[in-house]
């Protein structure tokens, strides 16, 4: 189990919105301790039985550890800064289409303050049997020892379900986010998975764009003894086109699927050609 547990006290910034309401309800059903919601101007109301406050500072008596940010893209930077300034050490940003300059500033501010930031444009993190912060479907998990990190949403659920259906379970599943700059990258998460005693196997689901898969592969080659399975999407992607995720783009010949698959293979990672192949590779 890594990053979050049953004891993690979560606030939801933007809880009164459509997404915030639905997903905070699902998180509570999963067993997550949602202690408060924050929506400016909505203090005194309740969502899913949880009190809503105007400001993050008002929730501090409830000792929050983590904030889920589900506000429209133009307000994400402000909401995240508010959480960080109030001492919250885990920030998860669900929102898609956040301007990259905003994310870049949040990234450096989070590092400076020792804040663990997930996303933006991420489905969140789930530790089966413990807690979920985010929007992954509740019913696809089983407690187990496979840790999964991915840059996608739906594709991750599909892979988690296939892994669970094949008789495995998951220690932690994290969606890192589909943007060009994200708070937690493959090279960060691989260290955490490697050090986690509950995790026996690791699955990395990467895609075109950037060089984080290559950096993680280098770390795996040097330090990781646990078996790692990888899958990379985007072999058919034309260069220069954003394939649905702002970060999934081949730029000036860098960030290609070929480069990532080669880095994975060079590091001894078992590489799946199709998502359906992943459970078989876990058995090998």
């Amino acid at each position: 189990m890594v990053i979050i547990s049953k004891e993690t006290r979560v606030i939801v910034q933007g809880m009164t919105g459509h997404q915030g309401t639905f997903h905070s309800g699902e998180m509570i059903k999963f067993g997550t301790k949602v202690v408060a919601g924050v929506s400016p101007g909505k203090a005194g109301t309740k969502v899913n039985g949880v009190d809503v406050y105007n400001n993050v500072v008002d929730t501090l008596p409830l000792k929050p550890d983590a904030s889920m940010i589900s506000v429209p893209a133009p307000f994400v930077k402000d909401a995240a800064l508010e959480a960080m300034e109030n001492g919250i050490k885990l920030i998860y940003i669900l929102t898609e289409h956040v301007p990259v300059h905003d994310t870049m500033e949040l990234y450096h501010e989070a590092r400076r303050k020792g804040v663990f930031m997930i996303g933006p444009n991420s489905p969140g993190i789930t530790v089966p049997g413990q807690a979920k912060i985010g929007i992954m479907p509740n019913n696809i998990f089983r407690v187990g020892d496979v840790a999964i990190a991915s840059r996608s949403g739906t594709l991750t659920y599909e892979i988690v379900k296939a892994v669970t259906d094949a008789g495995f379970g998951e220690s932690t599943v994290i969606g890192l986010g589909g943007d060009p700059i994200i708070g937690t990258t493959f090279s960060d998460i691989i260290r955490i998975f490697n050090d986690d005693p509950q995790t026996k196997q690791i699955v990395l689901v990467g895609e075109i764009g950037g060089n984080e898969e290559e950096k993680a592969a280098k770390y795996i080659k040097d330090y990781v003894k646990k078996p790692v399975t990888g899958y990379i999407t985007g072999i058919s992607a034309p260069p220069g086109k954003k394939m649905g995720h702002a970060g999934a783009i081949i730029e000036k010949g860098t960030g290609t699927a070929e480069s990532k698959i080669k880095a994975f293979k060079d590091a001894g990672i078992k590489v799946a050609s199709y998502p359906d192949d992943i459970p078989d590779l876990l058995r090998k």
């Binding site: 659920y157 985007g234 394939m243 702002a246």
Partner: protein, 366 residues
């Protein structure tokens, strides 16, 4: 969003970066008296414009008219020239390279400098390229210009320092992913002037910069139209129309087709929806791309499998779809969805591999 040279230069002017005097025309009737010689520059989003004949020089009014006539509506590097930038010609003494870009690996803005300007930066030897990273939460400081000047043969140090700071302000203020000046010209009087501009604005920040909300020239008409409905739709040169949900799953779908020697006609991410009309909208774009065959690949979550099934059935009627539709439905409400499809004669698969095999069989490329 890639901006045209003239738009980039408008931004430069706004931030106090010197650019040559000039104006933009869309037809020769708009030509005006100007100091000769002038440069006539085709406004297309393509490198190597000059080599492809997209830039001409005129010494007098007659030449200006002839060349403008030649260039307007001509095709250069496969792009139609719709606008020309007419500019006072610079008296070039030296050409440098200067840009600020977002370094994705470092997650920081980086200033890139070279004394070798006027050519593609990719063809400049690495040892002649210098980089200075900036912490975005700290921002610009004067030492950056002093360091930059140590790499460049510039006499007018004061003007360069102010120009570099302005370029950084433009980069941040306009939510740019790239602000490039190549060449950065030093003229006969030691003035420093932006000879060209290449500016890329973050699409996700366009709501803060409504002036640049132009029709994206890098996209096809159909792609632009789909984008206005919030679909990521990308046209490709194959024949299998694709609808899937989630960017990752859509890419995985196209990859699976490609690995089976099948060719996708498009990328279309349905996104998270529980609305039949959105499924119909998705079909409308795919149908306009005239695929030979259609593959719908859904893993239900927020997007419910039965909603998509209903959307497939209604689209088939609405758009009179004659092409075969191969469907894979899994996840939330998959049984209900599969039954809906079966009732209208479509057998849905519940895993992707089987569905792709079926497509191979239909296409005869097993």
């Amino acid at each position: 969003m890639n901006l045209y040279e003239y738009m980039g230069k408008e931004i430069f002017r706004k931030y106090g970066i010197p650019v040559p005097d000039g104006y933009v025309i869309e037809n020769v009737g708009e030509l005006k008296a100007f100091e000769y010689p002038v440069a006539i520059k085709s406004q297309i989003l393509s490198g190597k414009r000059g080599k492809a004949g997209g830039i001409k020089f005129a010494k007098n009014e007659a030449d200006l008219k002839t060349y403008s006539d030649q260039l307007l509506n001509s095709t250069i590097n496969n792009l139609t020239v719709k606008k020309l930038l007419i500019e006072r010609m610079l008296n070039i003494k030296k050409e440098l390279y200067l840009s600020i870009t977002l370094d994705r690996a470092a997650k920081k803005p980086v200033i890139i400098l070279s004394a070798d300007g006027g050519m593609e930066i990719e063809s400049v030897p690495e040892e002649n390229i210098h980089k200075i990273y900036i912490d975005p939460m700290v921002g610009y400081s004067d030492y950056i210009a002093r360091e930059a000047l140590s790499y460049l043969p510039v006499d007018n140090k004061k003007q360069f320092s102010s120009l570099l700071q302005s370029l950084y302000n433009a980069f941040v203020g306009e939510d740019a992913l790239l602000t490039e000046i190549n060449p950065l010209v030093i003229d006969g009087e030691n003035n420093i002037i932006a000879g060209d501009s290449k500016v890329v604005i973050d699409d996700n920040a366009l709501y803060r910069h409504k002036d640049y909300m132009i029709t994206d020239p890098d996209k096809t008409d159909l792609e632009n139209e789909a984008a206005s409905k919030s679909f990521t739709f990308i046209e490709m040169d194959g024949d299998i129309g694709v609808i899937a949900n989630g960017a990752g799953l859509t890419m995985a779908t196209m990859d699976a087709l490609t690995l089976h020697k099948l060719k996708p006609r498009n990328f279309l991410d349905l996104g998270g929806t529980d609305n039949i009309e959105i499924v119909e909208d998705a079909f409308s774009y795919v149908m306009r791309a005239r695929p030979k065959l259609i593959f719908v690949n859904i893993f239900g979550g927020v997007t419910k499998a039965d909603t998509v099934a209903n959307g497939i059935v209604s689209s088939k009627k609405k758009f009179d779809i004659k092409q075969q539709i191969v469907v894979r439905l899994s996840g939330v409400h998959e049984e209900e969805g599969q039954k809906i499809l079966l009732d209208s004669g479509i057998k849905a698969f519940n895993n992707m591999t089987d569905a792709v095999k079926e497509l191979s069989k239909i296409q005869g490329v097993e």
